[in-house]
């Protein structure tokens, strides 16, 4: 057991170290210019020299992503429950969701900045929320429709009320689907909130920091911010993945 765990964790770490070493070697040996790609040591140094500014930028983008994630998730669940309960709402939402799914949502950023003012974070949060809504809605609705016939029969045999059946069978059965949607949505939230910063709005956030650093030819710093955004995405992903694993324990059918 221990040996296997050490190997599953150790192998990728070792691979990462080897890759970084090769990268460093290539940059130095081939004299690659920083605007092409800086060496990992240079990026590390830039990251280490201003960890607090990077953290602050990441927290701001992260906060926007989190607001969008929560709002989009709540609205997504709400509409999924309504669509599962009512055929009419289902028929109305289906084309809207299908339409929304093909819209590249960050393309709306400039429009939203003029709508909500370029000094507010609202546009970025809204874009994240819209991106989040789709996978949460689609997955939750699928989960709600997943009630097995044998469970439906059982609830009828028990003369359970519609609310009892929803509470004991439908909602718990939909939870793993919901959390899968939530995990997918969490990455989208970070990406959308960050990319939205490229199109305007307040001069803060990690996306803005990247463009600013590139504009002032500080490539190592730009990459340090990229590293920061990767870490931010990982935090969101790991947190929601942990929730998903927790929600899908004991789910083999019986």
């Amino acid at each position: 057991m221990r040996g296997a765990a050490v190997r599953t964790v150790g192998a990728p770490i070792l691979l990462g170290i080897v890759a970084l070493a090769l990268w460093q070697l290539a940059v130095v040996a081939l004299d690659v210019k920083p605007f092409v790609v800086p060496s990992p040591l240079a990026i590390g140094t830039a990251f280490g020299s201003t960890p607090d500014t990077i953290l602050r930028a990441a927290l701001l983008t992260g906060a926007n992503a989190l607001v969008g994630l929560l709002v989009g998730t709540v609205v997504g669940i709400l509409f999924a429950v309504l669509a599962a309960l009512s055929r009419v709402i289902d028929e109305i939402t289906a084309p809207i969701v299908a339409g929304l799914a093909v819209v590249p949502i960050v393309a709306l950023a400039p429009v939203f900045y003029t709508m909500f003012g370029a000094n507010a974070q609202t546009a970025r949060q809204l874009i994240a929320a819209l991106a989040v809504f789709i996978p949460v809605f689609v997955n939750t609705l699928r989960g709600l429709r997943q009630v097995r016939p044998v469970h439906r029969d059982l609830m009828r045999a028990y003369a359970a009320s519609p609310w009892q059946a929803t509470r004991t069978v439908t909602l718990p059965g939909a939870l793993p689907y919901l959390f899968t949607g939530f995990r997918i949505a969490s990455s989208l939230a970070v990406i959308s909130a960050l990319v939205a910063e490229y199109f305007g709005g307040p001069i803060d956030g990690i996306g803005r920091a990247i463009t600013t650093a590139v504009a002032s030819s500080n490539y190592a710093l730009a990459w340090a911010y990229v590293l920061g955004s990767i870490l931010l995405g990982l935090v969101f992903y790991c947190a929601t993945l942990a929730l998903e694993i927790l929600a899908t324990r004991h789910r083999r059918r019986a």
């Binding site: 097995r148 044998v150 469970h151 029969d153 059982l154 009828r156 045999a157 028990y158 003369a159 359970a160 009892q164 004991t168 069978v169 718990p172 059965g173 939870l175 324990r249 004991h250 789910r251 083999r252 059918r253 019986a254």
Partner: protein
């Protein structure tokens, strides 16, 4: 131990199940299917009756009519003198299907407590009853396990415990052992015989295994397909069902009854070795 108040006393002579002149047709895009035609059947309180016949002869449909999971197209179904619908609302029966149908996010104990919980039994009552039932089906050590941690046979025992939770006077079972291996299946049959002896419930039991039907039943209802009809009802002369033990499977009376059911099943098909979908093992 308090009872869950569901059932009153049965007047003498009222059958547990009475099916009279029932037809059942299903309509779909591809036309209508006559699943059952002219079904008449009565099951006495405490009696064990098996429905046997090839796949598609309407066994499950008949059971679902009794459970009020479907409504008959014509004819009537009564359970302890009530309409099937009223009997379902009054929780007169417990039911178990071929799939255990446990809720995977609940522990074994919580699964057994499910019907009690839905019908408002107190926590103390639920705990006491679940403990009793876990013991009855030999799973006392597994109350805290989740269904995915149990074997198929154990899951099916949980499903049976759940069906018995409210002490129903009628048990409806649709091939509950159909997915189990032969050895587990025989052990479950012996256990079911014991449980029925202890609870005194009437049972309607769907199966497509002839020995299973004979071992368990007071009467075997042999059905034929297209349209689903009752071909014959055979009384099994092997003594009280509750007194049957494993060694009965070696008994010549047992074999005689198995042969009798087999002949009825194959009926007009004469010397053909087996009806499709019916097991002869």
């Amino acid at each position: 131990m308090t009872e869950v108040p569901t059932t009153g006393p049965v007047p003498i002579g009222v059958p547990a199940v009475e099916v009279r002149g029932v037809d059942k047709t299903f309509s779909s895009k591809n036309g209508t299917v006559t699943a059952l035609e002219g079904i008449d059947l009565a099951v006495a309180p405490g009696e064990f009756v098996s429905l046997i016949g090839p796949s598609g002869c309407g066994k499950s449909t008949l059971l679902r009519l009794i459970a009020d999971l479907e409504a008959p197209s014509t004819g009537s179904v009564t359970v302890f003198g009530k309409t099937a619908r009223q009997a379902r609302i009054d929780q007169e029966y417990g039911i178990a299907f071929q799939q255990a149908g446990l809720l995977p996010w609940r522990t074994v104990r919580a699964n057994i407590e499910l019907p009690l919980e839905l019908h408002g039994a107190s926590r103390a009552e639920r705990t006491a009853r679940a403990t009793e039932l876990l013991e009855l089906v030999g799973l006392s050590d597994f109350g805290g396990s989740y269904p995915d941690q149990l074997s198929g046979g154990m899951q099916q025992r949980v499903a049976i415990a759940r069906a018995l939770a409210e002490r129903p006077r009628l048990l409806l079972m649709d091939e509950p052992f159909g997915a189990l291996d032969e050895m587990t299946r025989e052990r479950m049959q012996t256990e079911l015989v014991r449980i029925c002896g202890e609870t005194g419930a009437a049972v309607v039991f769907v199966t497509h295994s002839i020995p299973e039907a004979v071992f368990l039943s007071n009467r075997v209802v042999v059905m034929s397909p297209r349209p689903g009809r009752i071909r014959e009802v055979l009384a099994v002369d092997l003594g009280r069902a509750a007194d049957r033990r494993d060694d009965l499977r070696e008994d010549e009376h047992f074999f005689a009854n198995v042969s009798a059911v087999r002949e009825l099943l194959h009926g007009d098909q004469g010397a053909r070795p087996a009806v499709r979908g019916v097991e002869n093992r």
